[in-house]
Subunit: 190 residues, 2 copies
Amino acid sequence: MNRLNKSGYHSINGIILHPVGIIHNTITEPSLVAGKDGLIMQAGHATMVERVRKTDTEVSRIVIREDLEGILEGIEEYSHLVVLYWAHAVPDERRSLTRVHPMGRKDLPEVGIFSTCSPARPNPVLTTVVRLVGRKKNMLEVTGLDAINGSPVIDIKPYVSEFYPREGVSIPAWMQQIQDEIGRAGGNFY
Amino acid sequence: MNRLNKSGYHSINGIILHPVGIIHNTITEPSLVAGKDGLIMQAGHATMVERVRKTDTEVSRIVIREDLEGILEGIEEYSHLVVLYWAHAVPDERRSLTRVHPMGRKDLPEVGIFSTCSPARPNPVLTTVVRLVGRKKNMLEVTGLDAINGSPVIDIKPYVSEFYPREGVSIPAWMQQIQDEIGRAGGNFY
């Protein structure tokens, strides 16, 4: 891993991202907070589930840097987009967690971070499929974005359903249990 | 955007990622190269399509940093994963492209980078759904990974099909044309 290449990537200095925009919405509190011993669910489980579901209808505004003029051209032809954003509320020292109880729930098995969508991960780049509801110049209006207000945007990609398999997909029982309980299409909470 | 926060993110210094692993496979040439005027398809279109399809069966090995011991725990319970990797073959100066002809094809309309999955983007963090075929300690064997050999891995997430809508999804005619021509489930080529 210790090498230089064309992208200037170097394992010691790391990879540098420059945010392309910022997310504005009314979600000010992360639903999960990473403590030194793992994830801590804010408020009660019912409140958390309510917050998770709220993001399905919550309209977020994504304001893209004005110097990137033209980069959104043609994006209105997509009904859905994939948003990559930075979980800026995750303190650097929590990026070293390797195992968590999903959602901080002790009734769920402790698993590796890469088996979860926990925001506390080595590189908290979160990805969410959103519905594009409108565009005004360099501002996109979307629903279903589970980011908190002020999150830096790293990338926006088209959502093409053919890229995502449906057949032969299996997930752990605990993840299926969460899907059955929350019944939400997407989320970086568990 | 010009602010500090808990993650240490600052718009001037950017966000720093530390790769969690590296991808090993036999794909040494990117199918697309970003030139100063846009994307350039390597070899002919047929060869390119062949390369794109090859990734469906090509086995890539993802070697995770040994200091992240435990972070893969339970991952074998997933049939598919989402891999985030760094397109290290994209030169920094190509990260400022804002419009391209998808796949470098002049017969397709020039659109904004965010309307495409082009590897040449402001932050070339590419995401691909892969099939997990095996794990040996800190090494994952996957198929369907469209990364070239030596790509740094940024993150690995579970693939949960419920996160990805199927109904009411629309894409531009040019993207549908590519899907019809290549008929591949996924790709960071167009």
